[in-house]
């Protein structure tokens, strides 16, 4: 039973991992929320980036309202 439970949890995540690796659209979508979040904070991210290493493509251009009072 232990194996079933832990195996089921692992299987669900493996399916998602395989899906992500095989589908660029999935990959783009799965990373989308982090760019959306930056936009909510007032930073302008590169929303076309699709990979994990896409951080380098992000260039904050201005302070957003989130940063109005930053010291």
């Amino acid at each position: 039973m232990t194996a079933y439970l832990l195996g089921a949890a692992t299987l669900i995540l493996l399916v998602l991992i395989v899906w992500r690796r095989s589908s660029p659209e999935f990959r783009r979508k799965s990373e989308q929320p982090k760019f959306q979040f930056l936009a909510n904070l007032g930073f302008r991210p590169d929303t076309n980036a699709t990979t994990d290493a896409s951080n380098k493509t992000v260039t904050p251009e201005r302070k957003g309202p989130h940063e109005e009072h930053e010291p």
């Binding site: 998602l16 979508k29 904050p60 309202p65 009072h69």
Partner: protein, 865 residues
């Protein structure tokens, strides 16, 4: 500004952020003071001891509940109020609801809970100590949190929600589900069955409430400070799902080697190890996010520094937790201070550092408030140093305690050995407290922020509306399905680790409960059980003998599930500062327990147990009904099992014989450490504690005893008295104290001018008195085998093995021995007293040395060595 523009600016509810932040500071400082007082009591047991409200147990309850609800709860709420608009581009449901929640949570739940606990209205369940009425209020607050924050999250849409939002949503949802399990179910299911549910909540409080909130803050602050996205959002979600899928399976690892079904124990062990893998994924992602965004530079931003530290400590404490759940290691380390170090690392190092990083990040952006970077940086270093020292200290103490418990030494030795560590913990606690104060000051001093708008500006050119396409629906479906799977797993964990063990246990209990087992408690014993819980006894004394060799050797047979079928709620405990009490029944007489309750130092000089003077009317021999009830309850612990399988009499002389110890100082030191509480420093039985016992402590200085008598008493105790067995003393200490006691007896003799008559006359007169007043109990041959003494405990004295001094005999004949069968003979004249004493002394023989070969084949000899 146009109306449209106004609608597109989502403002943070700054009033609620501010209110919860201030409440968090107050909660943190008060909770830390509770903790500091608890720590001081370990090395100054009389500190704050005269009032029930300030006893160790109740302060300890308020310490942990305060950290969880007053500090972390408020800090998390302050952060959530700030974060929700940025995560969802929506306001929280209602600010008015927020203020209702604020006052309900802080005034009713936290202040009410603290006060009721101090008044003794509580439940002795770990991480669920606030009474049920307060638990109901807290559960209501969790439901309101779903309304307040869950609705914006759900409106946001699964495919757009940043990982912090998922953690916050998951934390609130799963805590709402888990909270009643640990707070209500143990009242409905007794003993082992209730323990299964308590175990779930103990870990869910950390795993499903504290951890998600802390990780949500970490993901939020990293991006907000670095202005860059995290390394991988997908793997952050993998970590999120694994947390909620696996964490609920961990709970029972607090009760390994117990009578809970072994399958459930193995599930928790495997899940705990698997959880470590999840944490590695989460921490790798978080640290990579920081490293890439900052390019490895020093973290100048102090809130981010708090966050970074929290992440590193999250990894350490989680891997430590996984290792602790491995049964081979758990057998050794469980119940020690190691676990306390682990929980401080989790609650301060991981959770509090994350909360501090979060609220200080928020505060730097709050309009119109002061903040001091300098003070914040100071607080960081103070807290890091204080925590580091405390964890090292407690880990060391834990290893030491575990070693001593394995080495078959008297329990009190582990208490003595822990003293320096406990003193050092108070010093660490002071450093932590100063760090907390400086942290709070950093929010009240320094430059003031300008006033203005704080929130999401949808008019910003950085902002863009997310594109919606076909993939969104797939995503939403996949994410929602996985979240649903999390709920299913939670239910499964509830079934597997709560319901299933309960059913199995119920069947097992019905099958194994012996006919004639006397389990029902009288009304007095039930009141005693309640007092036992109220004053926190279970937090120092476990009530479960585990299936380990060390436990069985020290405490007796492992606790069977059927023995606990009347325990509502279970009080198994998870820490041993004092010994386990599951087999306490019959170990000590009631008067010993009463004196020990009144002031443990009266009879155990090095004890750190709190005194309970409010249970007495001024002295240990004037117990209130509460004290009697409590002692009555103590005498039920293990009673059924003892009645069904009475203890076998221990063999005599199981102590290995060692060469005589020619060191009177060693013997005296052992005597002072272990015996002087009852027998007095002068060994005359005149200590406060010794005089309060029934029978009163033996006057060692007034009697000469044979070596055999001394050895027998030391090894087996004296049935019917408070004298326990000291067979666990190291062989050299045992020999030393035996020699020392043998040297104490000053039987003296009479000078000719003190004698009322010639020896022959004295002896004959003494014989007549003896046969008239003493022989029916002490026997015709003065060997303690008289017909009237057969049922007496302690047995009448055997004068072949002890010789009283004339003054000691005169005192006893005049006053009797309170609490024994020995009455007073006040009408005997001084010549008669002298004569009968002279006669008794004539029986004494020094030749009763212990048989030197008796121990060579003893099965325990190897253990002792």
């Amino acid at each position: 500004m146009t109306g449209v523009a106004e609608r597109q600016r989502i403002q943070v509810a700054t009033g609620l952020v501010r209110a919860h932040t201030y409440a968090a500071f107050v909660g943190l400082l008060i909770s830390a003071l509770f903790g500091l007082a608890v720590s001081v009591k370990f090395h100054v047991p009389e500190f704050l001891t005269n009032h029930a409200a300030l006893t160790w147990g109740r302060l300890r309850y308020d310490h942990t509940q305060g950290i969880l609800y007053a500090w972390l709860g408020n800090a998390f709420l302050a952060f959530i109020y700030y974060a929700v608009p940025f995560l969802t581009r929506r306001r929280v449901t209602s600010e008015r609801l927020g203020w209702i929640m604020f006052f309900t949570y802080n005034v009713v739940a936290v202040l009410g809970g603290w006060t009721l606990v101090l008044m003794g209205v509580l439940q002795p369940l770990e991480w669920a100590e606030f009474p049920l009425v307060v638990a109901a209020v807290i559960e209501t607050c969790f439901v309101l949190m779903i309304v307040q924050f869950g609705i914006p999250f759900l409106k946001c849409g699964a495919s757009e929600l940043y990982v912090s939002g998922w953690y916050l949503l998951g934390g609130i949802t799963f805590t709402t589900l888990a909270y009643p399990l640990g707070n209500i179910v143990p009242h409905l299911l007794p003993g082992a069955m209730g323990a299964a549910f308590s175990g779930l909540w103990i870990h869910d409080a950390v795993g499903l409430f504290v951890t998600p909130m802390a990780v949500a803050i970490e993901y939020f602050v990293i991006s907000a400070v670095t202005r860059k996205p995290i390394y991988s959002h997908f793997y952050s979600m993998v970590g999120f799902w694994l947390l909620f899928l696996v964490y609920p399976l961990n709970g029972i690892h607090h009760y390994l080697y117990s009578s809970l079904p072994m399958m459930a124990q193995h599930v928790s062990e495997a899940a705990s190890i698997y959880q470590g893998i999840d944490v590695i994924i989460v921490v790798t992602n978080l640290l990579l996010s920081i490293a890439i965004a900052t390019e490895g530079t020093v973290l100048e931003d102090v809130p981010l520094r708090y966050i970074w530290t929290s992440i590193v400590l999250y990894l350490i404490v989680s891997l430590q937790g996984s290792v602790q759940a491995v049964m081979a290691f758990n057998r050794f380390i469980h119940f020690t201070d190691w676990v306390i170090g682990h929980s401080h690392l989790a609650m301060i190092g991981f959770a509090s550092f994350a909360a501090m990083g979060g609220v200080s990040h928020v505060w730097q952006r709050m309009p119109g408030v002061r903040h001091s970077r300098r003070a914040l940086a100071w607080s960081y270093w103070l807290l890091l140093i204080g925590l580091g020292l405390m964890v090292l200290d407690l880990s060391g103490a834990g290893l030491l305690q575990a070693s001593l418990w394995q080495s078959h030494l008297p329990w009190i030795d582990s208490v003595r050995a822990s003293q320096p560590y406990w003193v050092f913990r108070t010093v660490d606690g002071l450093i932590l407290l100063s760090g907390f104060i400086v942290f709070a000051c950093s929010f009240l001093t320094g430059e003031r922020n300008p006033t203005g708008f704080l929130g999401v500006d949808l008019n910003s050119d950085a902002y863009h509306l997310p594109r919606h396409d076909k993939a969104d629906s797939w995503f939403t479906t996949a994410y929602a399905a996985t979240f649903g799977a999390g709920v299913v797993f939670f239910v499964l964990s509830f079934l597997m680790l709560g319901v299933y063990p309960a059913i199995r246990l119920h069947e097992s209990i019905e099958r194994t409960t012996p006919a004639g087992a006397h389990l029902a408690l009288t009304s007095s014993e039930q009141r005693g059980a309640k007092l036992y819980g109220i004053d926190g006894c279970a937090y120092c004394h476990t009530m479960q003998v585990r299936y380990t060799a060390a436990d069985e050797w020290r405490f007796g047979n492992p606790t069977q599930a059927w023995e606990t079928r009347q325990e509502y709620p279970q009080m198994w405990g998870t820490r041993r500062i004092g010994p386990d009490l599951a087999r306490e029944s019959g170990k000590r007489p009631a008067d010993w327990q009463l004196v020990h309750l009144y002031d443990p130092r009266y009879i155990v000089p090095d004890s750190v147990m709190p005194s309970y003077p409010w249970l007495f009317d001024g002295s240990p021999d004037r117990p209130t009904q509460d004290a009697r009830d409590l002692v009555a309850y103590l005498n039920t612990l293990g009673r059924s099992a003892a009645q069904l399988s009475p203890a076998k009499p221990a063999p005599v002389y199981v102590q290995p014989v060692v060469a005589p110890v020619d060191d009177r100082e060693q013997g005296r030191a052992v005597f002072l450490a272990n015996c002087s509480g009852c027998h007095g420093v002068q060994a005359d039985g005149q200590s406060i504690g010794g005089r309060a016992l029934r029978p009163v402590a033996f006057d060692l200085a007034g009697f000469r005893l044979t070596d055999g008598d001394i050895w027998r008493a030391l090894e087996q105790g004296v049935p019917g008295s408070s004298m326990p067995s000291w067979e666990m003393l190291p062989a050299s200490d045992f020999q030393a104290v035996a020699d020392y006691v043998a040297s104490l007896g000053n039987a003296g003799s009479l000078t000719p001018d003190q004698q009322y008559a010639s020896p022959e006359v004295l002896k004959e007169a003494g014989r007549r008195v003896y046969e008239s007043d003493c022989a029916r109990c002490h026997g015709e041959n003065a060997d303690g085998t008289g017909p009237d003494g057969a049922e007496l405990l302690p047995h009448p004295a055997n004068f072949h093995q002890m010789m009283p001094s004339y003054p000691a005999a005169a005192r006893i004949l005049h006053s009797g021995v309170p609490g024994s069968g020995m009455p007073a003979f006040p009408l005997l004249t001084p010549p008669e007293v002298q004569a009968v004493t002279y006669y008794l002394r004539s029986f004494y023989s020094e030749g009763n040395k212990q048989p030197a070969a008796a121990t060579s084949a003893s099965p325990q000899m190897g253990d002792m060595q």
